[in-house]
């Protein structure tokens, strides 16, 4: 039933297509962050780095290949994913050795450094940014296209993760979260799993970047591509809001966060960012286990021995 609502949404609410497209993107963000933060215990503030890479790779291919728009875009889309994974593998080898807060802040630095370096590189437009070629299609087609693209991405991501978590991989990364040293002592090749987890994150996030760059129409190195202080942190919040470490938590968190943000934005004109800061503090301080966690606690309190699923 939910799927029907999801597919039908842009038809019933045509003027909100872009916002809905962003919603699916946020779902992917939250899910991908959760692999690292919720399931594996490695809180990353820098996943946005792959978003930026994806956005630029795709736009550059679109600009330089001279091919038909759709061909160039999907080529760029794929290249974005590949490059994202490559970066995750290379960077991961160096950075995933860091623990806890050091990892978190290191990735924050990474995310912001990405923006700074991008704005100095003339080939990709430096500070003036880069505009991918315009979508060739009728009125309203562009939003529809990207909306369904993001929706597909979100669904693929969700089901991939569902599959992956229920297998050995899921157990392995949870073990890393619960006690990495013991896991390693027991013979688990933690480094390998850590890198794979980050690569999975990077894969989906980079594709989001490729699509988003085209949907927004203009890639600014600091405000769009490597938007560390906005998207980069929101993906963390959404997962925590919904309940990190679960499959539905990030989805729920993305939904609630995005809708709340849009509402703040419309009704608290000028003060929406202040409200956002307040919201962050409230979520983190009072609901660290997220909505799902809170619900779970309520249920175990009211019905003794209740089972879920």
């Amino acid at each position: 039933m939910g799927l029907i609502a999801a597919f039908g949404a842009p038809i019933f609410l045509p003027f909100m297509t872009t916002q809905i497209a962003f919603l699916w993107m946020m779902v992917v963000f939250a899910l991908c962050w959760d692999i690292m933060g919720g399931q594996m215990g490695y809180n990353s503030f820098g996943n946005i780095f792959f978003f930026g890479i994806g956005a630029y790779v795709c736009a550059v291919i679109q600009r330089d290949s001279g091919l038909d728009w759709y061909v160039a875009f999907f080529l760029g889309f794929g290249a974005a994913a590949i490059l994202g994974v490559l970066c995750a593998a290379i960077l991961g080898a160096g950075i995933l050795g860091l623990r806890g807060q050091y990892f978190a802040i290191c990735t924050l630095g990474l995310g912001i450094a990405g923006g700074e370096i991008a704005s100095g590189w003339d080939y990709i437009g430096a500070g003036s940014g880069l505009s991918p070629p315009l979508f060739p299609g009728a009125l309203g087609m562009r939003e529809m296209f990207f909306n369904y693209l993001f929706l597909t991405l979100a669904l693929v991501c969700f089901f991939t993760l569902k599959r992956v978590y229920s297998g050995r991989f899921g157990l392995a990364i949870n073990a890393i979260r619960d006690d990495e040293d013991k896991a390693e002592a027991m013979g688990l090749r933690t480094t390998r799993y850590k890198i794979v987890a980050w690569c999975i994150s990077a894969f989906f996030v980079a594709m989001c970047g490729a699509a988003a760059g085209n949907m927004i129409g203009f890639i600014d190195p600091r405000d769009v591509a490597f938007a560390g202080v906005t998207f980069g942190v929101w993906m963390v919040l959404m997962a925590i809001l919904g309940g990190k470490g679960t499959l539905w938590g990030p989805v729920l968190g993305a939904l609630v966060f995005h809708i709340t943000q849009e509402l703040f934005w419309t009704y608290l004109l000028g003060w929406q960012r202040v409200a956002l800061g307040l919201l962050i503090v409230v979520i983190v301080v009072f609901f660290p286990t997220g909505i799902l966690g809170w619900l779970r606690e309520r249920r175990t309190m009211s019905t003794s021995g209740g089972s879920e699923q």
Binding site: M1, G2, A5, A9, F12, L13, P14, F15, M16, T18, Q19, F22, E116, S119, G120, A126, G127, S128, G129, S131, L134, L139, G140, R142, E143, I216, G217, F218, D220, R222, D223, V224, A227, T230, W248, L252, L255, V256, I259, E262, L263, W265, T266, L269, G270, Q272, R273, L295, R299, E308, Q309
Partner: protein, 414 residues
Amino acid sequence: MSSQFKVFLTALVAIAVAAGGYFYLQGAKKDTDTIVLGAAISLTGKYSTNGSHTKNGYDLAVLKINANGGVKVGDRSYKIKIIYYDDESTPARGAQLAERLIKQDGVKYMLGPYSSGLTKAIAPVTEKYKVPMVEGNGASLSLFKKGYKHLFAVLSTTQFYLKEAVNLAATQAKLAGIDPKTLKVALAFENDPFSQDVRAGVVEDAKRYGMQIVVDDKLPPDLNDMSVTLTKVKALKPDVLIVSGHAKGAALAVRQIADMKVNVPMLALTHCDSAKVIKKFKAKSEYTLCASQWDRGLSYKDSLFGSAEDFALLYEKTYKYSPPYQSAESAASVQVFADAFQRAGTLDPAKVRDALTTTKMQTFYGNIKFDASGKNIAKPMVLYQIQGGKYKVVAPLKWAGAKIVHPTPSWDKR
């Protein structure tokens, strides 16, 4: 999944749908005797100060037009109304908002946002939906190289901003019997779309004269300190130093050039007025050249506001501060629309767009005539020099009210 959870999720989706429905209904309301213009403005974020200047300019024009009986289209009079959204100074938001205004709020004519970056994000949207947009705050030349047919800008585009400074340096050199080719130019521009475009215009002119560019620094937007660049300037002793980095760049430049006692014969900046350099730095800001789109002392006039000075007085009375050029060009944007509506005689966006292409008018802000790409080719930029704590127009020579003091005396003589 437990059934309780399913209920919760359904409730959430229901809320989302309800919210969507509410927004839809909002858009369905329409006023019949009003022309609605849409605008995404930076009310928060790094451009919020200029965003509010822009909004004030729009509002004042609407106020005056409505007070004078509104806009006459055919045989009916219409009042003007503007719907605003906050783009938070981010391009992604701006594009989303443009779409929202056009599709959800049913806006058929758009007023521009503040800054080139935001205009760059919004222009593709308005172009796609064939919604004419008149803007006064996106000066980037690259906007007009894309073949947009629905974009019109009343302001002078970026390449003109500091061209006058380069020309002035060349003229002064020739007067002193020096070949402009031997002049050394130092550039310090913030690394963002607007400032980089201004740089492109300056570089083009400098190359035309054969001048040598000895320093070419791109300052990161979050940088709070220009001392590294200025040390280079002291080392290489250029004849001209040109800085553009919005208000922060102007403030830092004036302050640190004085602090470090950097002696440059000519210093040219943008955004002196929005950085309030005279008020903040007093004597230290003396002799600085400042680019401006408009000055209240120029002798333009129109039938709505009167002269430039009249506009400035009205603005001061309404908002209690002197209008920067951002407000003036925003007000002029609304005037251009009003004029186009009247000449088109209809509210059909396509006909209004056609009327816009044939605009030829003088406003208190300046002359307005659009070329095929939509930029205003009838209005030159103005160059001030700060003399005796006041802005004096020194270029173009036709409008100059004072003579430039050049070369700037060194710091130990001040």
